[in-house]
């Protein structure tokens, strides 16, 4: 079914959402990761955390029911699920750094076969730095998944032997969801768990700098 591949942004978010079990505490980075929450069925209780101290984020409110005091870390208006709560910024990052997040899903420019992730700058010399909370989340969560296009718009691979962009953290990514595949980071390197229909293992390897291993 050629029309189903490659996945679009919602398709990637939905694919990742399918792997999140009930009860997990999850932080979603900005961009595609934020959309993951849209694909968790309401009856599956997954607790979403935001860096600004919100625990238990629910769906976006209708425009006429916005609470101006309730935003996520992307500064979008959100709702709070029943059972949610609030903490201050230091306690919020105690959650992140202290290993309390079952999962953090981050966007990425590059992920290396060792699980290194680069997601905040395209050059170490960028004069204006936009670090935010990614480094804290990446080192602290029990597991980190990355969601990203398999290659850049210019056709360059993003699953690489070594990251060329400044790192966010070393050896933290456990799984990558791309528009073409789901891959696990293992001690031997990337293992392909799933490829979208119509793409062969060889096709995938051709678009990947790192060596891929079959499941």
């Amino acid at each position: 079914m050629g029309e189903r591949q490659p996945l679009d942004r919602d398709g990637m978010a939905a694919r990742a959402a399918a792997d999140i079990p009930e009860g997990w505490l999850v932080n979603l980075g900005i961009g595609i990761p934020t959309a993951v929450a849209n694909f968790i069925p309401a009856e599956r209780e997954v607790i979403f955390h935001a860096e600004n101290g919100v625990i238990g984020i629910g769906p976006a409110p209708p425009p006429d029911r916005v609470n101006p005091y309730l935003i996520n870390a992307g500064v979008q208006h959100v709702t709070l699920r029943t059972g949610g709560s609030f903490v201050h910024q230091a306690d919020s990052f105690a959650i992140a750094r202290g290993g309390h997040l079952d999962l953090c899903i981050l966007g990425a420019f590059e992920v290396s076969e060792a699980g290194d992730i680069a997601n905040w700058a395209r050059s170490p010399d960028e004069p204006v730095k936009q670090i935010g909370g990614g480094m804290d989340l990446a080192v602290g969560a029990k597991r980190v998944w990355a969601i990203m296009e398999h290659i850049t718009k210019g056709g360059a691979p993003r699953l690489v032997r070594q990251c060329s962009y400044p790192l966010t953290a070393k050896a933290v990514v456990r799984r990558v969801y791309t528009n073409l595949a789901v891959l696990d980071v293992t001690p031997r390197g990337f293992v392909v768990r799933e490829i979208v229909e119509g793409v062969s293992f060889e096709d995938l390897q051709a678009r990947t700098e790192a060596m891929l291993l079959r499941d």
Binding site: G84, F86, F93, A96
Partner: protein, 219 residues
Amino acid sequence: MIDKRVASVAEALSGIRDGSTVMLGGFGDVGTPIALREGLIEQGARDLTLVCNAGGRDGSAIARLLTLGRVRKMISSFLRPASEAARLHVQGRLDVEIVPQGTLAERIRAAGAGITGFYTPTAADTIVAEQRETREIGGKLCLLEYPLPGDVALLEAWQGDRWGNLTYREAQRNYNPIMAMAAPLTIAQVRQFVELGDIDPGHVHTPGVFVRRLVHVPE
């Protein structure tokens, strides 16, 4: 549906293994998980390290665990000289680590917050700092301290819901919120089970994400 409530103290304590570091909330008798501590006697785990503010008065569950030889080490801010802990320590049958109270609280907090070490001026000029790493920071001598994580934390709280959200009454808070964050298996005895949503989100003291099991122990 997330539901962290369990039916009995025995169920709440199941799976605590020999050799565990067990954190015990409470200061004096306030915020002290009496039923869970008693249950620990029955539960049977041995070779325990206990982390608690003070050494435990005679007759307390801590003293009985000590008498039963179930405790290898205590980490506390003080021991009463006339306590079972002190007697066993003097006899060389109990390892004891005495930590200044604020440093004890901060080490527990650091464990829950992923802070891997910190410097404090507390005790840096005292015998507590002997043979240990110090550093002058801003003209003050400071002592390097490491986080103190637990395998298990036993708490007492006032209200709890099925997500594990907790509130405390008055001085009941003390060590409970920070111990809740410092162990992977946090178990709370609560005075009241309430419905999810009954606790105002702004009034939650310990978010449920830090709690694994709750058991109802009425007053």
